[in-house]
């Protein structure tokens, strides 16, 4: 099963390598990883998506806690949460198909953030299904490049991870 973990870590050099090293060393594969600052100074939040069974997930959480720079690990899969990912897609486009692509973009409430003579860049935010769907639809044109932020997630309601 795929799990989403919110990991609060100290914002110090070398912390990412410790977390990534732990996953690599024990053979757990990271599906996606996103890191950014939080409202608290010197504390960053990682959202890690990992494919694992329950027993391995338990080990991952315990091993993460063994890292001195890891402050808190929360399993967001267990509770109602909102998750999002942002993707930028560069599609080969010219006068002949630009309008068609624009229609797809509007349907997905995505945005065109760059237009050039032979290409456009589409920005789309959403959950995994939505992103896969638009990438699939745009692939009937030539996709030149795709870049994704990795998933971020937050709990619904007033409960906060601190």
């Amino acid at each position: 099963m795929r799990y989403v973990l919110a990991v609060l870590v100290e914002d110090k050099p070398g912390v990412l390598v410790r977390v990534a090293g732990l996953f690599a060393r024990r053979g757990y594969n990271i599906e996606s990883l996103a890191v950014g600052k939080t409202v608290e100074p010197m504390v960053s939040r990682m959202t890690i998506e990992v494919e694992a069974d329950e027993k391995i997930l338990e080990q991952i959480i315990k091993q993460l806690y063994k890292l001195v720079n890891v402050l808190k690990v929360s399993n967001l899969t267990e509770e109602p949460s909102v998750d999002r990912e942002l993707v930028l897609i560069k599609v080969s486009a010219d006068v002949s198909n630009r309008a068609e692509i624009q229609q797809i973009v509007e349907t997905f409430r995505a945005k065109i953030v760059d237009v050039a003579l032979n290409s456009i860049v589409v920005e789309v935010t959403g959950n995994q299904e939505k992103l896969e769907a638009i990438i699939m639809l745009l692939s009937q044109y030539t996709i030149l490049e795709v870049v994704r932020t990795g998933k971020i997630a937050i709990l619904r309601g007033s409960k906060a991870i601190k």
């Binding site: 090293g21 080990q59 315990k62 806690y65 001195v68």
Partner: protein, 558 residues
């Protein structure tokens, strides 16, 4: 008070009550080392960084205090990796100070510069790069705190050059709070009560004790618990000397080269208390067959050990000493007499034995038993890794707390001899024996120079079978005796070699020479190397072949 980084390090070591530093200096922290030589802290220099780290490890295991190592960064630290990894695998408290030559980071790839934090990442409890003198005192306090609390382990301090040479105000924090580090000492009372309830109903209880007993100082509580409720105790390799081998309730070691009766007891027990042990594969054999009839209570200070190798029924996260004390207050099994008789029946059906022909070659087991006899069991023992290590575990009687130092988790050949020098420094009044193989002794044999330099009267018993014996045994048993890379015919003359270093070299070639040679070694004031020429093809038995159930022991090799 204003002082330089180097002075701060020395002052902090005083605050941490460090009395000995194990070092192999380079350019840096060379000036630190010369400053230290004027302080009251003893500086012991080794030939090679690996030797210094194993010595610090031996010092830590025998005294319970953290071992402190000084080395230069880069090449110095890369030589130290084996020692750090050895300590990590066996949860030994150690603090390594590595001094950088130039910059705070490896941006310039300067001489002797290396990203040691990354190199040691998987084998340290934590590492701290100290980039500024402002962080120095706190970082040192953190390193000692991390190394010695919770599940202990090695911590590396990587000191940037300017952090050593700048001056600043020194204030050493007494107490320290590390937000992401909160080891659980006090266990969940509900879990302890649950364990006690299960234990009270047990008919065939068994305690399986690991190295955690020694690190938490729980040997007394373990003995009391065993005696109060008549529960037999088996120990892991790391648990040896945590429970007296000669105690009537002691079953010896379990697992691959454990005793038949200990393994049978694991197999048949209805309740097992795993105390500070981690269900390593050398202990469990085939995991699916391990202790299938037992309700398993697992006590460990490291939550990540719970459920890692074996699914347990009642996990208790906490300090094993505290938990055993709490179990002592509760009710235990009522009557274990028939269980103990059953175990004794197994014991007499397959006792540990070897046959020493008085006219034949020396049996290695005989040498080990005689070391025990001649020192009346008072010696502190280190071993290298191999057959001699297993025979020591099987035939030496560890009745004294913290008297066995050996690399278990990593299995580092080359550990025992330098470790014995650290043990001797930590325990100057004790007789220290290093039981070594002819293969493993050669791995750090150069530290004979250190033994002579500091006149450390360590006795090295080389169990010389002219082979890498354990590998040879596996090739014999599992690869139809197709021997490859295990014969050591080109080994040096250990007697001459000892003499070349300025130590005493002795040799025993027949069984009748064993006792006189040991007596001579014991009466010698300095370091001694004894070359025991033993039977080459003796095997360590019984043995659980790899991936077999521990009930499928091989008792003899035809």
């Amino acid at each position: 008070m204003k002082m330089s980084g180097i002075q701060m390090v020395v002052e902090s070591l005083r605050n941490e009550l460090v009395d000995t530093i194990f070092c192999s200096p380079g350019g840096t922290p060379g000036d630190m080392v010369s400053y230290l030589s004027e302080s009251d802290i003893r500086l012991v220099m080794y030939c090679h960084e690996q030797g210094a780290s194993h010595a610090a490890d031996g010092y830590a295991r025998s005294t319970g205090k953290p071992g402190v190592v000084f080395c230069t960064s880069g090449l110095g630290l890369t030589s130290l990796v084996t020692g750090i990894a050895t300590a990590y695998a066996d949860s030994v408290p150690m603090v390594v100070f590595a001094g950088r030559g130039m910059s705070a980071s490896s941006v310039y790839d300067a001489e002797v510069d290396m990203d040691i934090s990354s190199i040691t990442l998987p084998s340290t409890k934590h590492s701290i790069v100290v980039r500024s003198i402002l962080d120095l005192p706190r970082s040192i306090r953190e390193a000692f705190h991390l190394a010695t609390t919770g599940r202990s382990g090695p911590v590396v301090l990587d000191l940037a050059f300017n952090a050593q040479t700048d001056t600043g105000i020194y204030r050493y924090p007494k107490n320290i709070d590390i937000r992401g580090y909160n080891p659980v000492y006090n266990s969940h009372q509900g879990q302890v009560s649950k364990a006690a309830k299960v234990l009270a109903k047990a008919k065939k209880p068994l305690i399986y004790a690991g190295g955690g007993i020694i690190y938490s100082g729980a040997h007394e509580e373990l003995r009391q618990l065993a005696e109060k409720f008549n529960i037999p105790v088996t120990t892991t390799l790391m648990g040896l000397s945590g429970f007296p081998t000669e105690h009537p309730l002691a079953l010896g070691m379990l697992g691959m080269h454990g005793t038949y009766w200990a393994n049978m007891a694991v197999n048949e027990a209805d309740v097992i208390i795993a105390a500070g042990a981690r269900f390593d594969d050398r202990v469990t054999g085939r995991k699916s067959d391990f202790a299938t009839k037992a309700t398993i209570i697992h006590i460990d200070i490291d939550p990540a050990e719970i459920g890692k190798n074996i699914c347990v029924d009642i996990p208790i996260v906490g300090d094993v000493k505290q938990v055993l004390l709490q179990l002592l207050q509760k009710t235990g099994p009522q009557d274990t007499q028939s269980w103990l008789s059953q175990i004794n029946a197994w014991r007499s059906s397959a006792p540990m034995r070897y046959f020493q022909d008085p006219e034949g070659q020396i049996c290695p087991q005989f040498v080990i038993e005689q070391i025990y006899e001649q020192t009346k069991g008072t010696a502190l023992i280190t071993t290298e890794v191999g057959q001699h290590q297993m025979w020591t575990a099987q035939f030496y009687k560890f009745n004294k707390y913290r008297s066995f130092m050996s690399s278990g988790g990593l299995g580092t050949m080359g550990y025992g001899f330098p470790a014995s020098l650290g043990v001797q420094l930590g325990c100057p009044d004790d007789v220290v024996f290093c039981i070594a193989g002819d293969g493993s002794f050669q791995m750090n044999i150069r530290e004979l120079a250190t033994a002579v330099r500091y006149n450390l009267p360590v006795k090295v018993a080389v169990i010389n079978n002219q082979h890498l014996g354990l590998v040879r045994q596996w090739q014999e048993m599992f690869f139809q005796s197709r021997y490859s890379s295990v014969v050591l015919q080109s080994a040096p003359d250990f007697v001459k070699l000892a003499e070349a270093y300025g130590a005493l070299g002795l040799r025993a070639e027949t069984p009748s020479e064993v006792i006189p040679v040991l007596q001579k070694a014991l009466s010698a004031p300095g370091p001694v190397v004894i070359d025991f020429r033993v039977k080459a093809e003796e095997n360590v038995l019984p043995m659980v072949p790899p991936n077999c159930s521990i009930s499928e022991m091989v008792m003899t090799v035809e």
